[in-house]
Symmetry: C2
Subunit: 757 residues, 2 copies
Amino acid sequence: MKNKELTQVGRSALKIDGRELVTGKAKFSGDFNFPNLLHGYACRSKLAAGYIKDIDISQAFKIPGVVDVILPKDIPGGNILGILPPYDQPVLAEKEIRYAGESFCLVLGTSVEAAKAGARAVKATIEPIVPILTIDEALAKDARKIHASGNITVSKKLIKGDSTKAFNEADIILEDTFETSNQEHAYMETEAVCAIPSGDDRITVYASCQSPFHIRGHIAANLNVPVAKVKVIQAYTGGSFGGKDDAATEIGSLAAVAAVRQGKPVMICLEREESIVGSTIRHASRIHYRIAAKKDGTITGKEIKILLDGGAYAAESPFVVMKALIHSAGPYIIDNIKVESTAIYTNKTYCGAFRGFGVPQVTFASESMMDELAKKLKMDPLELRRKNALKPGDLNATSQVFQESVGLIETIDKVIDLNRLYKLPSEREERYLYGTGFASMYQGISNGAEGIDVVGASVQAMQDGSALIGIGLTELGQGSRTVFAQIAAEVLGISMDKITIKQVDTDSVHDSGPTVASRSTTVGGMAVYKAAGEVKSSLLKMAALMFKTEENNIILKNNFAQLVFDENAKIPLREVCVAAYWTGFPLMNLSFSKAPEANYDQENTQGNIYVAYNYGTHMMSIRIDKLTGEVKVLKHVAVHDAGKVVNPKAFEGQVEGASLTGFGLAHLEKIQYRDGVIINPNLADYAVPTINDRIPSETISIETYNPTGPYGVKGIGEPPVSGAAASFANAVANATGIRFKKLPITRQDILKSLIKI
Amino acid sequence: MKNKELTQVGRSALKIDGRELVTGKAKFSGDFNFPNLLHGYACRSKLAAGYIKDIDISQAFKIPGVVDVILPKDIPGGNILGILPPYDQPVLAEKEIRYAGESFCLVLGTSVEAAKAGARAVKATIEPIVPILTIDEALAKDARKIHASGNITVSKKLIKGDSTKAFNEADIILEDTFETSNQEHAYMETEAVCAIPSGDDRITVYASCQSPFHIRGHIAANLNVPVAKVKVIQAYTGGSFGGKDDAATEIGSLAAVAAVRQGKPVMICLEREESIVGSTIRHASRIHYRIAAKKDGTITGKEIKILLDGGAYAAESPFVVMKALIHSAGPYIIDNIKVESTAIYTNKTYCGAFRGFGVPQVTFASESMMDELAKKLKMDPLELRRKNALKPGDLNATSQVFQESVGLIETIDKVIDLNRLYKLPSEREERYLYGTGFASMYQGISNGAEGIDVVGASVQAMQDGSALIGIGLTELGQGSRTVFAQIAAEVLGISMDKITIKQVDTDSVHDSGPTVASRSTTVGGMAVYKAAGEVKSSLLKMAALMFKTEENNIILKNNFAQLVFDENAKIPLREVCVAAYWTGFPLMNLSFSKAPEANYDQENTQGNIYVAYNYGTHMMSIRIDKLTGEVKVLKHVAVHDAGKVVNPKAFEGQVEGASLTGFGLAHLEKIQYRDGVIINPNLADYAVPTINDRIPSETISIETYNPTGPYGVKGIGEPPVSGAAASFANAVANATGIRFKKLPITRQDILKSLIKI
């Protein structure tokens, strides 16, 4: 697996699905069409909390084209959502409304318009309750319980060393509280599914989704049929960023129930407003952060309390709580840490996975504190980070040790160099403030503490020397299909044009869990690597017979099997494939990749959690217009150690995309509520970064070799979000001299603060 | 694998796909419907032979609804058919017409009617050639060559011992020539495909077919795209019997070419007439048979010349030639054999696979000769068969020896017993003739000499304890899905309602070759057995951890894991599945079953060919109406050694169905030509047996244990065809005293002969 003479891995191969995407041939769930297709449209609560007294559907049936209305009682199975315990969410609310936007029935029509008109005609009598809208209200002593279990979803601890002692002995103690807002995923394509009852007594669901296996399980549970009766195929998915995990289980279950009931295909495509109010958003947070240090800048202890506002249902809060917990102390050597991470129920839209998964929130707090500490110590902020940075062999926050592939210091050094070279505009105008911010971060790769991390992949070599790759992880725009194709092409010695990657289909690979945690390239890549390796083994055996030599004298390269020591002695791989088939060597393999298991003390969250970490340091230089508060990013450098980079262009795309999400979180995006109702549920009022807000990101890879990934890969999908968000906050502080403690730091916030000055 | 305490295998489980079939939910290819679906209808030659001078398609486009006409030049790839060398067939004839019914262009319309009207409007100028219509014409010295290679498709020899010597030293020599006619498969559902260009730059084809992997390869070759771009899914298939192997590659390729060209789904469903004239039929044959014996009935030699009329293209003739060659000497110990088996080209509909695959033709000849020999020797015909019958340890015609699972003598003994008990009507009426015929046969199981025999299967256990089975072999009505489900249920210890068998999908299993040669239960069953075994292994490991014991103390049974020695200590299997998933034991496996390879001298066809043989003896008693020639079958007993029977009810269905096909071949069915044009291409004029022709078959299984099949299984799909056909011929001879040497022996044939008497 050593990286000598790689021909495919490490190359900026064209995106394998690029052509169909740019030509419009790619079929998204909403593009499906079938005769007799029905459309589903949900009735949603306009109140944040209330008791359902009556749902009168009679008027809906008077609307031409309305064919059915699905109520909770019409769900044959458990009416259950939630991809992990406590499974506290219904598909359709039956008795109680817990957030504004929650569905309580689904109207089916022969057109979207009919279904929507039908939904408007449904008369719901909902008795209002005073909604619980803030963390404080939820935690108040006599607070109404949103769920029977109370208002705390889950709470976890991380304890390393003796933080009390560290704080007692500290030269310096800093303490502050940080907050972040909810963030909307704002994918180009909203959530969409199309469910088709198959003639073979099964149900097939095409879904714009992140985790087809989650959807499969939920559909079976809600239909009350064996899981084996349900087949989920991921249609092209126009972005997900974590958001099409929970939400797709909801509309997937609804569409399946409706389709089976009607015996007809049913499509549900959320409108933008539904997508914002009715599916997960990023957890808002409040983080209390204490830091203990020596005068020389050695950080000796941290005490952190994280409160995550998870909204009305648990969804993935238990995992986000863990991720925030584990990452909150940052990528530093700190002997004494005490963290408490808690998710809270409120009567707001429920929160779930979002690129970064709790890490951007804690990194913002952590890196703001680093800058404050540097300021207090009068140290260079990069030097402070460098001094405390994790190196190979160090114990991280969970006391996990990596002997290899810990490139944090190299990322800091790279930024130090760049910063030295970079000059903010020399002729600064009076009207503007200038500043540069830095942030270091790390992010665990793989499911880690979130449970077992397994991926299935299949590789089938054809008799014409082409190959078909299947994998249980989804392409969400991140380019993973291209990466998997490169890995398979590398192993099999074939060119990229011979590789086809199939749509994910739950029938054909092992349940691979969700496509999350920046794990695709590492754990998924390993599954492809192994499956391709088995097929390669068949091809080598056959070629050895054909060459009348030993297998280790043969390499597969450029669509040929050739002798190692005589590159002119070669046989086209398609001939080897034909011969292998007719000789009976298996040309297809289904492999199973299992990441080294997390093994830790669950009480104190100490032990081995992730298969690797991505490390990164960002630098962001900005210019602020004092008259308008307008911020212009002059330079953004994202330096990451993501192990071996399979596709530099795709890597760059991931870094740029994630950085822009971080920038949006830090500067632009804010879900706004009034009485628990989102008042900006559209892309006019909710300021998601557009192409005009693009920041001039520069991507630098510090390649290390990660032994747990094929060819030494790690992952890059999520980490830059945290780096960009935190470095932005530090840049603003550097430019204005004001420490903003709440994200987003909007133009208005900056302007208001400057005027106060 | 020993058969102790089987709970699923050996039980008449309900047909797993029965419900959707009888409720009409099952979707056949022709049931598919998509927006913008186009229909293809081919223009076919009305001449048996000719040169294509001009195809004028201009008038077709004037028909409303006609959108395109596909000519040979519009096929991007090779315009090639033929599932094995010499690949001598075009998808669309370009220069020469070789049989009446051959397609030369495809008209696409928005409706079937439009396409058909368009096809009528195409003006083809075809210069007639004198067609070659018989074996003798084809073999005549100066005969026109139908193909450049000549008029002999393929010719093979089998030589064992010294037949010349045997004949020189024989006490008795008998010699005769037998003929058989073409036979139409006459499935309920005609050939149909639906091709859909996928959004992911692939093409998906739903097909009523027998060998989706053959179709996949042909589509790729004709589209000129990598095989990995093509996905073929077997739709429900309403019968095949061998006939939907070649034909489906033809219309599959055409539909795919049209669909890609138009960017729209394209359906082609053959009309009954097209299905008869334009797709394969059973080879007509002429067999010259010589037999040498001693006075005591010991058969010492055979010399056989087989001529198969294969029609215009090779199709599967090379394999049918082999099968006829290998089986022609019958299931007897014969030391000296010389066989020549040859397929001929003629200007008639091309011939291919048909249940029995050459064996019914040679068995008719062989078993007719056995009766004639018995008559000559004044021996009881069953005693003669018994005397010469193969036993374990004997060398068969190819000198292959089976030490186990050779139950022929038991089948003969069973028939001897039954015949002793059975009395033809005691008060025979003057008007009727009565007779009883016997026939013994054997048929090789697996591809054998036809090449490697490999099958892929996948088994996926779900977290709710259900399981999804995939396999590369097709369900054609024979009940193989049920058999596979029973094997998987047996291995996993789960009930049948938890098992789902998926439609065959070329993406998801290893290329499993064609579903032929009665190999599904044996080789396919072994693949399922192995895949399920791997999953079982995961479940046992998990259960052992849960029980804190060793794996071998645990059995999986009735959806529970339980302790061997305490059946009250049990854990629901679904809980074991959940735990296994989260512990990281693979719950899915893709297995590969490879039959022991044929290993033989290809010059003389001596060596190990098949993994096993099915043996059988049939008895048929008939009554003939002397005034009308009408034949009534009074009793038919089919005794077979098919190894372990997985599903007795399905077994019975297979025997009854195959016997009726044999009866049709022997008595009713005859493709009739005039000037090379089939004049009875419909089910009114072509007499396929209907429910009214059903014969009162009685099925008896002599179970042996075949070590090459899971649980000792062999196969039963084809063998009874030969037994029924040959025993019918012998019954007619017994009743009338006249030896008919040509099949079918119709009512008219019998009447004519009786009148002559």
